[in-house]
């Protein structure tokens, strides 16, 4: 027996029951802290999906699917030593034999973590069943709500708490008339006081959600106008097609009851401050646990418990769980709601400051101690911009200013915001991941010089995200306190932003990287960050052929060889198929080329055809055949226009109102080859049915019976964003003028590799500002932007046609300079009638580790 298997024999088994947000966080923390050296971890989940973001559940109806809601990286559960049992409920815990029982059999454990969460409480009401007894907690619940909503007009949520209002939002986004029925005399009775509840009610009703307070449902019977009738006390009733109960949660403690663990007075697995239950081998965390008799129905305390358990299991010193801050900041139905600390002023002697604005239904309350020195709590409705500052005053016991009322008064010119420098090092910035200001400072001292790096390294702002703005402030403040002006340098060679470099290139008429580096940079080589960025700026300004010798070394391999490198070092080729329109002859020509060179062929999302598997030395031959057949390069490799997708429009479609293909061709041929900070895509739909999906594009054009509606700054992909309506009923010339200006303004002012969606979100002044610049010409730039775009369009040429005419340029397309052949290491296998790269296991080769001398 070798030493490795001896070690694995000594591994203990750790079972985690429940893969919700808290259970997932526990596993993540365990793996991060090295638990796999001591344990093999088995995670059981009753639900068929791995952990997902329950906090943002209502976004499931506004476009985020289960995949997008999933938490963390799937790789966590593929780590050797971690086994995830999805869709497998644990039926029983046999504490005497230390085994868990599921329908797959028994599994012995050394340590067990209960993270079973909670279930929605449905009061026993006569007649509540099926679609009149829906709940709102899991993705499965949401699917049932969606099914019930199919033939429904109206939906009611019972419960006006936080989750109830989220559920009302979900019903609204399903297109239902939404009502909220609350037993208490106000909304969110736990977090809000009377005026706060009133302000929230006013705002929500203004959004079209009806609120019925002080109503207890006695029974549910068949309705006359709608499917059901909810009968309240007296003669009062409300009819509806479906009912969602969100009247509170109950800890899911069935396994604890079955196995005889001690419970809290109102249920839940009783735990001590180490999160240990009455059985020393069993921990409980999250909403199934009762600490000091109480259940914590928020994610941050659950994460705190998960961390406490993970640290103990890894043999580290753990911070005991001593209760949690139940402060919350939310956007409910688009309305800001915040509740901090003692929101009700229950502390003896507490006094309050209140600000009420009935015209906009805003409300703010600050609760202070009897001596007026400390903030104890706060309530916010309508504007959460006060939240971060108030929370810091409350949770860090910072001395209040002489006039505390200033903290909740409308922010005038002299805003009394608490500077982040006033925060002590112990101040918690991110409560989800328990990241203090001190931890952020040491991460910065340890070399984190970018916000994204800081987030990755401390995990701050990666939970609920509520602290993102505060984190950014702390980050920028700390950097400048260290004498670093917030470093927006492109890289170590240029202490300029992309925008600044763009301006320099244009003003000084610089046409080469070397000239720019000599005048404004450091060193004489550059790097893989600044070279492509400057290459793109030069192209955006002057549009010289990218194959010019001075420009070639600046480009990524894709731009250098005008094709897209794939994982095995071969390239894919995407000829331009403008607007997705192609003649049969050209289609045949494409097929013939693909067949001749054995290229894997796939249709892209942009209505083009991608040909995969060409080696470097084959590219010129393939392209000379494509150019002969009338094709141009499609710039699939460039930070430039990709495609203009279109539907067939009025030419063929009975619904079409304009010639969308014609317009797509005009736009694609106009902007092809234009280099930008990142790739950009357009689409043109021939009517409001939007078959070209224009609202997910950087620029979307949708036909109306009077002309074109223009949408901007949409995106698909990893972070989808609906494009925003920018201008309506434009004629052809105005449409093109606006797009010229928009694109050129983006090219001038965006960061390196910043898509239009992110750029638009970073623009101060937002869409209104953009409209002022593009439509009203508020900066007096319009003529210049149009002229610059015209220069780029006039200088367009097909890069492949250009390269094919120049033997010097073609010399680069050699796999080896001392051999005419290809790379024998590139191997293919056949699958579904085409070639694809062989996987390592299919090569029957053993990788040789070469010894280095």
């Amino acid at each position: 027996m070798n030493s490795y298997s001896a070690t694995s024999d000594t591994l203990q088994t750790l079972v985690v029951i429940g893969n919700g947000m808290v259970g997932h966080h526990c596993v993540e923390q365990l793996v991060e802290r090295g638990a796999l050296a001591h344990y093999q971890i088995h995670v059981f989940s009753e639900e068929p999906q791995r952990a997902y973001d329950r906090v943002h559940l209502s976004e499931y109806f506004s476009g985020r699917d289960a995949q997008a809601l999933a938490l963390g990286d799937i790789a966590l559960y593929q780590t050797p030593g971690v086994t995830l049992h999805l869709g497998r409920a644990v039926l029983e815990i046999d504490r005497a034999r230390r085994e868990v029982v599921s329908d797959a059999g028994r599994l012995a454990y050394d340590k067990l973590v209960l993270a079973t969460g909670s279930f929605p409480f449905v009061p026993p009401i006569e007649g509540a069943e099926g679609d009149s007894r829906l709940v709102y907690r899991t993705l499965g619940d949401l699917d049932r709500i969606r099914d019930a909503a199919k033939n429904a007009r109206r939906g009611v949520v019972v419960g006006g708490g936080l989750l109830g209002l989220e559920a009302a939002n979900a019903l609204k986004s399903l297109g239902l008339e939404a009502h909220v029925v609350e037993f208490a005399p106000r909304l969110m009775p736990v977090q809000l006081d009377e005026q706060g509840g009133q302000a929230l009610k006013d705002r929500i009703e203004a959004l079209g959600v009806s609120v019925h307070l002080s109503r207890g449902t006695q029974s549910i019977s068949a309705g006359s106008e709608y499917r059901y009738r909810m009968n309240f006390a007296g003669e009062d009733f409300l009819e509806t097609d479906l009912i969602v109960f969100s009247a509170g949660i109950r800890p899911q403690d069935a396994l604890a009851r079955q196995s005889g663990l001690e419970l809290g007075p109102r249920g839940g697995v009783a735990i001590d401050s180490q999160c240990v239950s009455s059985d020393p081998h069993i921990y409980a965390i999250g909403e199934c646990a009762a600490w000091n008799g109480g259940i914590f129905g928020l994610v941050a305390p659950g994460y705190q418990m998960a961390r406490a358990v993970a640290t103990q299991l890894c043999g580290e010193d753990s911070e005991p769980f001593m209760g949690a801050d139940m402060s919350t900041k939310l956007k409910l139905l688009g309305v800001d709601v915040g509740s901090i600390g003692d929101a009700h002023g229950a502390t003896p002697g507490a006094r309050s400051y209140r600000f009420i604005d009935e015209s906009s239904a805003s409300y703010r309350r600050l609760v202070v101690s009897a001596d007026g020195k400390r903030a104890l709590g706060a309530v916010l409705v309508g504007d959460n911009s006060y939240y971060d500052t108030l929370l810091q005053y409350v949770s860090n016991g910072i001395d209040l200013p002489a006039d505390p009322a200033g903290l909740i008064l409308p922010l005038g010119e002299a805003a009394p915001a608490l500077g982040v420098d006033a925060l002590p090092a112990t101040a918690t910035v991110c409560s989800c991941h328990n990241v203090s200001k001190g931890a952020i400072c040491s991460a910065i001292d340890g070399g984190c010089s970018e916000l994204s790096e800081l987030k990755a390294c401390t995990r701050a702002a990666t939970g609920c995200g509520g602290c993102a703005a505060l984190l950014k402030q702390v980050f920028e403040h700390e950097l400048s306190a260290r004498g670093v002006t917030v470093d927006k340098s492109l890289c170590e060679h240029f202490a300029h932003t992309r925008q600044e470099l763009y301006a320099i290139v244009r003003v000084e008429r610089i046409e080469s990287f070397d000239a720019l580096l000599a005048r404004h940079g450091k060193g004489h080589v550059g790097c893989d960050i600044c070279k492509p960025a400057v290459g793109s700026i030069l192209a955006s300004c002057w549009n010289q052929p990218i194959m010019d010798p001075a420009l070639v070394p600046l480009q990524d391999t894709n731009d250098t060889f005008m094709a897209n490198m794939q994982k095995n070092g071969t390239y894919s080729i995407i000829p331009r198929i403008a607007g997705g329109e192609i003649t049969p002859d050209k289609l045949i020509a494409l097929g013939a080329v693909a067949k001749k060179y054995e290229l894997y062929t796939k249709i892209t999302g942009g209505q083009r055809i991608d040909l995969f598997g060409a080696q470097l030395h084959q590219l010129p031959q393939i392209w000379s055949e494509l150019v002969d057949a009338g094709f141009e390069t499609g710039h699939g490799y460039g930070k430039s226009l990709r495609t203009v997708k279109s539907c067939v429009g009025s030419t063929w479609c009975r619904y079409g109102v304009q010639d969308s293909v014609g317009m797509a061709l005009v736009l694609e041929n106009r902007y092809k080859g234009v280099r930008a900070p990142h790739k950009f895509k357009l689409a043109v739909s021939g009517c409001t049915r939007e078959c070209a999906e224009a609202q997910s594009k950087d620029i979307g054009v949708i036909a109306t019976d009077k002309g074109w509606n223009l949408y901007v700054a949409g995106n698909g992909g990893m972070r989808p964003r609906h494009a925003e309506l920018f201008a309506t009923d434009l004629d052809d010339a105005t449409l093109i003028r606006y797009i010229d200006r928009f694109l050129m303004f983006y090219i001038r002012t965006a960061d390196r590799l910043q898509r239009t969606s992110v750029w638009r979100e970073s623009l101060e002044g937002g869409l209104d500002y953009l409209k002022a610049v593009i439509i009203d010409d508020s900066l007096g730039l319009a003529a210049e932007l149009e002229a610059q775009m015209q220069l780029l369009i006039d200088r367009y040429q097909c890069e492949w046609a250009n390269a094919l005419q120049d033997p010097e340029k073609l010399k680069r397309f050699r796999t080896f300079v001392n051999d005419a052949g290809g790379d024998p290491a590139i191997r293919f296998v056949e699958e579904r009638g085409q070639r694809r790269p062989a996987r390592a296991g299919e090569l029957h080769l053993i990788p040789v580790a070469e010894e280095l001398n």
Binding site: E492, P553, M565, N568, G569, T815, F816
Partner: protein
């Protein structure tokens, strides 16, 4: 057809001609065979003196032979090549990967001998 020239030097290093100077691309890379190994050659005609580097063409992270198609740059003053697939950087001087120091590429001594690009063996 390539010419292979053998030559003895004082240090008993064997120099082998891989290609001609005109095969190199300024500030960028090309790839040549060397006895069954793929060698990426980078040519830096810098103001401080012309330099050529030879480094293994195989990217250990992807297993693909692509290093010769990366971008040359400097990181903290050291010349590096960025792999075109996953963008990790290798020092041209000794082949050590900046991000994953356990990944190390083989490097060879190179010299320009007239118009010939020669790599040292041994």
């Amino acid at each position: 057809m390539n010419t292979l020239t053998l030559e003895r030097t004082r240090n008993a290093v064997e120099w082998k001609t891989l290609c001609q100077r005109t095969d190199l691309v300024a500030d960028s890379g090309v790839v040549a065979w060397l006895d069954g190994a793929q060698v990426a050659l980078f040519h830096l005609p810098l103001s401080g003196g012309e330099q050529v580097f030879a480094i293994d063409n195989r990217d250990p992270k992807s297993g693909a032979n692509v290093i010769g198609r990366g971008i040359v740059g400097t990181l903290k003053g050291e010349l590096v090549i960025a792999s075109p697939l996953y963008k990790q950087h290798f020092r041209l001087a000794d082949g050590v990967c900046i991000e994953y120091p356990e990944q190390r590429l083989r490097v060879w001594p190179v010299r320009l001998n007239g118009d010939r690009v020669e790599v040292g063996l041994g």
